[in-house]
């Protein structure tokens, strides 16, 4: 009983405590999900702080980057700012089919994920980035466990990157192992850094790693639509996965279906938001290289890029 009183008091207080700058938006907090890579965290705070300037309440929750689509669908989380084609396309499409969330437009940024190496690798294997150099250099990438085959460290299994299939289709003399996490990939590169051991790992852009370890993607035969479904596509007529990943994957925003009605102004802004690759890299750099906290990094970014985000804001709100 007592609890109920307290709760209604809380509800009352909530209503009265938020003077409506934008009268239309609900005063309930907009829930923004945060994942475990810096550009996404900073971007979420940038957008969150923009919403706060508009008078909205914002809350951040840390969630798994795959499971988040289920949460957006149920409305537990309001939106998602980084939907990567390669990494999250499958989860996003699955949730899209079940209903409850929708596509809120693309960023200007493009994403790419593929086999990658840090620059020092090229000194040992000058034929790179052409994929045909890989077999000649296989011995450079060998470890005690792989014998004379090279080691390619693929992303975690649940990222479904088909590294094994590609190695087989293109006749690469490589053992493909799956790391358990992104952190494991970095530790693998970090360990090789000291004596510049050549390594070949799965990587993607935009990503903080580019700033820490300059590197390049291996250039595989260019992606053709259907390369993963139709053996005829790609250079080898009877194999699937005989191409590289698309070099310009989309990066979308996703919104809960209810957002449009509950926070119309915020929704309007969300559809306008569009970040570019350099902007995202800048956000990541503030945290990963310059050691700011994500909140501070967002403030700095907003301060330095007023002309960019102001044009997305509704009239009269600052």
């Amino acid at each position: 009983m007592k609890l109920k009183h307290l709760m209604s008091a809380a509800a009352l207080a909530m209503v009265s405590a938020t003077p409506g700058l934008s009268a239309e938006d609900s005063s309930e907090p907009i829930v923004i999900p945060i994942h475990n890579w810096s550009s996404q965290i900073v971007m979420s705070h940038v957008v969150g702080q923009m919403y706060e300037m508009m008078g909205n309440n914002v809350e951040y929750v840390t969630t798994d980057s795959q499971a988040v689509y289920e949460s957006v669908r149920l409305g537990d989380v309001t939106l998602e700012l980084e939907v990567w084609e390669g990494a999250f396309g499958a989860s996003f499409r699955a949730a899209l089919e079940k209903g409850g969330l929708h596509d809120a437009g693309d960023h200007n940024a493009v994403t790419r994920e593929d086999w990658w190496y840090p620059m020092w690798t090229k000194d040992a294997c000058p034929g790179l980035p052409d994929w045909e150099a890989l077999n000649d250099c296989a011995h450079l990438f060998a470890t005690p466990e792989t014998g004379d085959k090279g080691l390619f460290l693929d992303g975690p299994v649940d990222w479904l990157k088909h590294g094994k299939e590609r190695a087989e289709a293109l006749g690469l003399n490589y053992v493909v192992r799956n790391a358990g996490s992104a952190a494991a990939l970095w530790a693998h590169i970090g360990a090789a850094e000291a004596d510049k051991t050549p390594v070949l790992v799965f990587n993607w852009t935009p990503n903080f790693a580019e700033a820490v370890w300059p590197g390049e993607f291996v250039e595989f035969p260019a992606w053709e639509d259907g390369c993963d479904k139709d053996p005829a596509k790609g250079p080898i007529p009877d194999k699937l996965y005989d191409c590289g990943n698309p070099a310009d994957g989309y990066m979308k925003k996703a919104a809960w279906d209810g957002m449009k009605d509950k926070w119309p102004n915020a929704y309007e802004v969300l559809t306008k938001i569009s970040f570019t690759n350099p902007q995202i890299a800048e956000m990541a750099k503030l945290v990963d290289i310059e050691d700011y906290e994500p909140e501070e990094a967002a403030e700095i970014w907003l301060e330095e890029n007023e002309d960019i985000w102001k044009q997305w804001m509704p009239e009269g709100a600052t």
């Binding site: 810096s38 466990e145 358990g180 970095w186 970090g190």
Partner: protein, 664 residues
């Protein structure tokens, strides 16, 4: 952690035909293994077609009880969601508003200044346990603030401040029920045994589905994980209340309620408070794991730091978690030892409550001070003393030393190529029925008939689940790790047990190693040993050596002095004394330690999926991203079944041994 299962299933004393049964089991197992080349396929691995679709059945079951909020079909989810969004969210909101200034009722505009909390903590520490604990409590808060981790620490604590009391309350009530009604006791024991061996990933997914991603799911998962020991300790404490006290209560005409609240619970105070201590420690163990389902704070930050390869700052967060854990552990232990104070009648109020007054005064003073001196209110990231970058370069330089590289390179090569991989392949090579027979023989040799039957049933279920190979790989990592940690933990424990001083030192190291988030040492481990089985096994070893060392020390030190003196008098050498007197007497305790090491290994092997494995952990991690409740449960239960098999066998051996030695 594990003696629940066995105390529910007492084993019988050994009978003479024992050896023959054992021989028959082993013979059959060896025969089946030897005949593998000519065995039909169905005796090597269960044919796919025979595997019942457990996951689909479970999914259907969950779907049925879950209900569907979208269509309005009533189900469990309505209740849990109501609870999560109503009372639970409210409580979390209040705690979050007070500690970190989240915008919730009661709308205290700013979070409480760190300095005020530090002072109040120190005074409370002094009240509970004197200067040492005051220093520990105050110091922990000062460290947290000056490292620039105040906000995330408070986020963690604000959830724990709800989850831990919830665990306490549920544990107390269920514990009382289990003590009062035999039926409840019998019903919950197997449930608790499974719960304590179930991998945490299996709690996380249902927590998200039923209680919404974020702090609510985090709080629920923490509570579920932390409650079992509280139930057990409450029931245990109440059972131990002496009849005299009960008589006294009855004679003074207590009602049943009064009997419970004024007689039983105060008399069981010590056990109940030990339960509280366990709740707190287990809650802290979940800080990092619940970050996977949206728990804010230290855990989430730690994962983010690791994903951007910041070892130094990860370690600093790890230290904070250890400090907070040790602080809460010491304070709650001091509370156990501190008996209620009694004052003369007529003592003035301010004397009776002097610590409360000092605490409040300090709190208010710093609260006011913080309004003027910003540093005492909040330490900005730039002002903090964090040395993440420096630690990073120290670690990297160390790992890059030629000596280190050469040594680890050799270990990696020898362990991987000569030991681990052949061992794994051998285990995988054994036909399923032969493997089950081997496990049965092991359980029979140790525990007798009952554990052997359980072993047979449990491992047959694992085979039927369709995840046999992955289960065997999981088991292989566990066995390898426990074997290696025995080689380390046993000698270390024997050495430490020889003097009080060293025993204490090593025990402190054990405590620290146990609370330090295991995720953090995974990264340096990968850098040293690559993404290999060696890394997986060695990171489990760090974790499993702790109970082995601890129980060796405790077992050896608990050997009665008369016994060792008698050995000295009969002219034993040190070695003879150890092998013929101390070890036999310490064996039951050692077995408990060994058992715990296995349970810890089953826990840690799942975390090792973070490195990259091909076992159940990897599949479990995969389910976390989706909504496959059924598959998630099947995988989790497999881990649980294997762990319980060992638990039952070893603990029944330890109990028998204890009885044989007359240790009760």
């Amino acid at each position: 952690m594990a003696d629940i299962a066995t105390s529910a299933l007492p084993s019988r004393p050994a009978t003479p035909p024992r050896d023959r049964v054992l021989q028959a089991l082993l013979l059959l197992a060896v025969l089946l293994t030897a005949l593998k080349p000519v065995l039909p396929d169905m005796l090597i691995r269960l044919p796919e077609a025979w595997i019942p679709p457990f996951a689909a059945w479970l999914d259907a079951f969950f779907e049925a009880i879950k209900g569907d909020p979208a269509t309005g079909r009533f189900g469990l989810m309505m209740i849990t969601r109501w609870f999560a969004e109503g009372p639970l969210d409210f409580l979390l909101g209040v705690a979050a508003n007070l500690l970190e200034g989240k915008y919730r009722w009661p709308f205290v505009s700013d979070p409480i200044p760190w300095s005020a909390i530090a002072v109040a903590g120190a005074v409370l520490g002094y009240y509970l346990g004197g200067w040492k604990i005051a220093l520990l409590a105050g110091g922990t808060f000062v460290w947290t603030a000056t490292m620039g981790q105040w906000e995330i620490t408070m986020q963690t604590l604000s959830v724990l401040a709800v989850a831990a009391p919830m665990g306490f309350a549920i544990g107390l009530v269920v514990g009382i029920a289990a003590w009062k009604w035999k039926a409840v006791d019998t019903a919950i024991r197997p449930v608790l045994a499974v719960m304590q061996t179930l991998p945490f990933y299996t709690y996380l997914l249902p927590a998200v589905i039923f209680f919404k991603v974020g702090p609510t799911a985090g709080a629920i998962a923490t509570t579920i994980y932390a409650t079992p020991p509280m139930i057990l300790m409450t029931a245990l404490g109440l059972k131990k209340v002496s009849p005299e006290i009960v008589e006294a209560g009855k004679m003074s005409g207590c009602t049943r309620w009064q009997m419970l609240t004024k007689v039983y619970i105060p008399s069981a105070r010590t056990e109940i408070l030990v339960g509280v201590n366990q709740v707190i420690m287990l809650s802290l163990a979940m800080v990092v794991l619940t970050a996977f389902i949206g728990m804010p704070g230290l855990g989430g930050k730690l994962l983010a730091m690791m994903n951007s390869f910041k070892l130094g700052r990860s370690i600093e967060i790890g230290i904070t978690i250890v400090l907070v854990a040790i602080m809460l552990d010491q304070m709650s232990k001091a509370w156990v030892h501190k008996l209620p104070e009694h004052f003369e009648k007529g003592t003035p109020w301010h004397v009776r409550h002097k610590y409360l007054l000092i605490g409040i005064t300090g709190f208010v003073a710093f609260f006011v001070l913080a309004q003027f001196v910003e540093y005492f209110n909040e330490v900005g990231r730039r002002q903090s003393l964090s040395m993440g970058r420096e630690i990073d370069s120290v670690i990297k330089d160390f790992l890059a030393l030629d000596v280190v590289q050469a040594v680890t390179g050799t270990i990696r090569y020898v362990l991987n190529v000569w030991v681990l991989v052949p061992f794994r392949d051998a285990l995988l090579w054994i036909p399923t029925p032969a493997f089950i027979l081997f496990v049965m023989a092991f359980a029979y040799a140790l525990g007798g008939k009952r554990p052997a039957i359980y072993a047979a049933v449990f491992f047959t279920l694992v085979a039927l689940s369709g995840w046999w190979d992955r289960s065997i790989i999981t088991l292989y990592s566990v066995l390898s790790a426990v074997f290696i940690s025995t080689l380390i933990g046993l000698p270390l424990g024997i050495f430490a047990a020889r003097s009080e001083k060293w025993a204490n030192r090593i025990l402190i190291v054990c405590d620290t190693a146990q609370t330090f988030p295991s995720f953090i040492y995974l990264l340096p481990a990968i850098m040293l040993f690559g993404i290999t089985d060696t890394t997986v096994v060695l990171s489990i070893v760090i974790f499993t050596t702790v109970p082995l060392t601890r129980y060796t020390i405790e077992g050896l030190r608990a050997v009665p002095a008369e016994m060792t003196e008698a050995a000295d008098m009969s002219g034993c050498t040190r070695w003879q004394k150890l092998t013929s007197v101390q070890f036999p007497l310490a064996m039951p305790t050692l077995a408990v330690g060994f058992n715990q090491a296995i349970m810890f290994a089953f826990f840690m092997v799942i975390i090792a999926a973070f490195i990259g494995t091909q076992d159940l952990g990897q599949e479990l991690q995969r389910t976390l991203a989706g909504t496959d409740l059924g598959k998630n449960f099947v995988l989790g239960i497999n881990v649980s079944l294997m762990a319980l098999t060992f638990d039952l066998a070893i603990m029944s051996w330890a109990n028998r041994r204890r009885k044989a030695l007359g240790l009760g």
